[in-house]
């Protein structure tokens, strides 16, 4: 739930740092004007970010709740608002309201489990929140396996952090892949769903999948073939949103509102929704 009593009225946020991740993805660090976090959130939740005059859109929060000083949003430039966002600089103000939606069940169903994260492209953004959360509370989770792919090496978000930090964590295995061979890349080449089929299978894992819809579709098929049950796989849905509180009607699928009842769904729950996402 939003931290203020007025769900449609945002707070002012200040961009305090911008990291250029890829040619079209930037990570924005956002804080209160006087410093500090705008609100508390759970991994997987989203927030509405707005630029005065340009409008608002929903973005997943990529930083972990364990990051106590600020929130981060990794945003791909792919539309009118994100064009404007990418033109902003540190010190610029935005409007922020949230957090919205449900979260990955980090303190219940995921606790103590071996975790398999599967991400494609900007789909790493919501999963990074969980990954960093699990790394900061390492003793509360089992093994962590991360499969992450993008079109090219340049399109891998958070690559520096993955190389310097994630890979050095105890019991964390990172498998990177890119779609096509490329000079200077001696890692795996191929699509994420195919790579998932090649990797060692551990059916005790709870799986978290996020990426482009087409990737999710083929990853879910691969997981089913490998023997994972639908109720051990979580993914997120993304639909057009405006209000963020389940009232404007936009992200409605069946009786659910993705902004309120999602964005995180267990795959057996998704199976119950009408096929319109």
């Amino acid at each position: 739930m939003p931290s203020c009593n007025e769900p449609l009225i945002p707070q002012v946020g200040v961009i305090t740092a911008i990291t250029e991740q890829t040619p079209d993805v930037r990570t924005f660090r956002i804080e209160k004007p006087e410093g500090g976090k705008l609100f508390l959130h759970q991994p997987g939740q989203c927030a509405m970010i707005g630029v005065p005059g340009a409008g608002e859109a929903m973005f997943s929060i990529t930083s972990s709740p364990t990051q106590e000083d600020y929130q981060e949003f990794s945003i791909k430039r792919c539309g009118s608002l994100t064009d404007v966002l990418h033109a902003l600089e540190p010190g610029d103000c935005v409007t922020v309201r949230g957090p919205y939606g449900n979260a990955f069940p980090v303190d219940t169903a995921l606790k103590g489990k071996n975790l398999l994260f599967i991400a494609g492209g900007i789909g790493l953004a919501p999963l990074r929140s969980v990954i960093r959360y699990a790394m900061d509370r390492r003793e509360e989770y089992g093994t962590i396996q991360i499969v992450y792919g993008a079109r090219s090496k340049e399109d891998l978000v958070d690559l520096a952090e993955i190389e310097t930090m994630w890979k050095n964590q105890p019991d964390v295995h990172v498998y990177l892949t890119i779609d096509r061979p490329q000079e200077g890349w001696d890692g795996h080449v191929g699509f994420v769903p195919d790579y998932v089929r090649e990797l060692p299978v551990d059916l005790s894992q709870t799986v978290l999948v996020c990426g482009p819809p087409i990737m999710i579709k083929f990853v879910l098929a691969a997981l089913t073939d490998l023997g994972y049950r639908k109720d051990q796989v979580y993914t997120t849905l993304e639909l057009r949103m405006k209000c963020g509180i389940g009232k404007c009607g936009r992200c409605n699928i069946g009786g659910k509102y993705v902004c309120k009842d999602g964005p995180v769904f267990r795959c057996d729950e998704i199976g119950e929704l009408p096929d319109e996402y």
Binding site: C78, N252, E276
Partner: protein
């Protein structure tokens, strides 16, 4: 029960209108329209159906939520004030009052829409039983009683007077406040009122749309209804104009936008329509790109998804506005008729 002699109606409305904003149906070129009372307007209480419902008074077609200004390099957010002034709506129909109950399920559940809530708390609904429900009316299908409308005060029109019944504390307080215009009812009055109500129910029982069936709709019917091939046939001639959503007293979908005034930005809310192609479009794609999907969404929302979320309340109150206004006659009555559960798909 109280009564108001018809020759005191003008004085009654005048007194209310002088004490608070009062909205009454007034005949305009396009039909009866809820209009702010003034000594110059003549209420049109005979029209069973205003062009639009008084939904606007609680959920305006367009309203500012906050303004954004940058002062000395700092972005400032100034929320719009909520409604604080009591107001009254006179001559509202029971179907439209019921529509507000459905909207309450949406806007007054957590997180509460404070803009809507303020208007609901300040508004007094004086509803009028429908002496002449017409051939496009089907409110009884959705459990409304046109002879005993919902509202804070319900009025039944008799030959020489109106009978008034308070239905809520707010309504009782309102009647107490304007008691000088009212007289107590004796037994003959109560009998006369009951007779009027019986007449209304007798008309309602003869209306052509009275026997529409909701069988096979409601919570839990998604699987049975979503893949029905009759959505394709039904939606074929839909123009996607969205008229149905704009005249509907229950439709609630809205958009949020920024408007740059040159001196700041107004963030406003306005009605939107699920019948429009760009309603769900985003840079990653559109999950309802076809007209059939949008048409299906509107009716599934009213007849299945809505009842699932709103304690069984349907997203239709049978006011008949879409029946009258849809240019292709592809309104909810057609859906209920042509998608009857017992009919074979092939029969259409």
């Amino acid at each position: 029960m109280k009564k108001l002699e018809k020759d005191r109606l003008s004085a009654f409305l005048q007194q209310i209108g002088e004490e608070m904003p009062l909205f009454v149906p007034v005949q305009k070129e396009e039909g009866a329209v809820f209009t702010r009372w003034s000594p110059e307007v003549t209420p049109q209480l005979g029209a069973v159906r205003t062009v639009r419902s008084p939904k606007d008074l609680f959920f305006p077609q367009c309203e500012a939520l906050y303004t954004l200004k940058t002062e000395q390099g700092k972005l400032q957010i100034a929320p719009q004030k909520r409604a604080e002034e009591p107001f009254a709506v006179f001559g509202m129909r029971g179907c439209d009052a019921r529509a507000l109950q459905v909207l309450d399920q949406v806007f007054l559940t957590e997180p509460v829409d404070t803009f809507y809530k303020a208007r609901r708390e300040n508004g007094v609904l004086l509803t009028l039983a429908c002496r002449r429900p017409d051939t496009a009316c089907f409110c009884t299908v959705f459990q409304n009683d046109p002879a005993d409308p919902l509202g804070d005060v319900c009025l039944v029109e008799g030959d020489t007077c109106f009978f008034l019944m308070a239905k809520t504390e707010k309504g009782q307080a309102f009647l107490d406040r304007f008691a000088s215009f009212l007289t107590p009812c004796e037994e003959p009055d109560e009998n006369a009122c009951r007779k009027e109500q019986a007449n209304i129910r007798a008309i309602a029982a003869r209306l052509p749309l009275r026997d529409l069936s909701l069988e096979g709709w409601g919570p839990g019917q998604t699987d049975a209804r979503f893949s029905d091939p009759r959505w394709d046939t039904l939606s074929k001639n839909c123009l996607g104009c969205g008229t149905c959503t704009f005249v509907c007293p229950v439709c609630q979908c809205y958009d949020l936008h920024d408007y740059d005034t040159g001196h700041g930005v107004i963030h406003y809310r306005c009605w939107d329509s699920c019948m429009y192609e760009d309603f769900t479009r985003m840079s990653a794609g559109n999950n309802r790109p076809t007209r059939m999907q949008r048409y299906r969404q509107r009716f599934m929302h009213k007849l299945v998804y809505g009842p699932e979320n709103n304690n069984g309340m349907y997203g239709c109150v049978g006011c008949g506005r879409c029946v009258v206004k849809c240019p292709s006659s592809l309104h909810i009555v057609q859906v209920l008729r042509k998608m009857r559960k017992e009919e074979e798909h092939a029969k259409l």
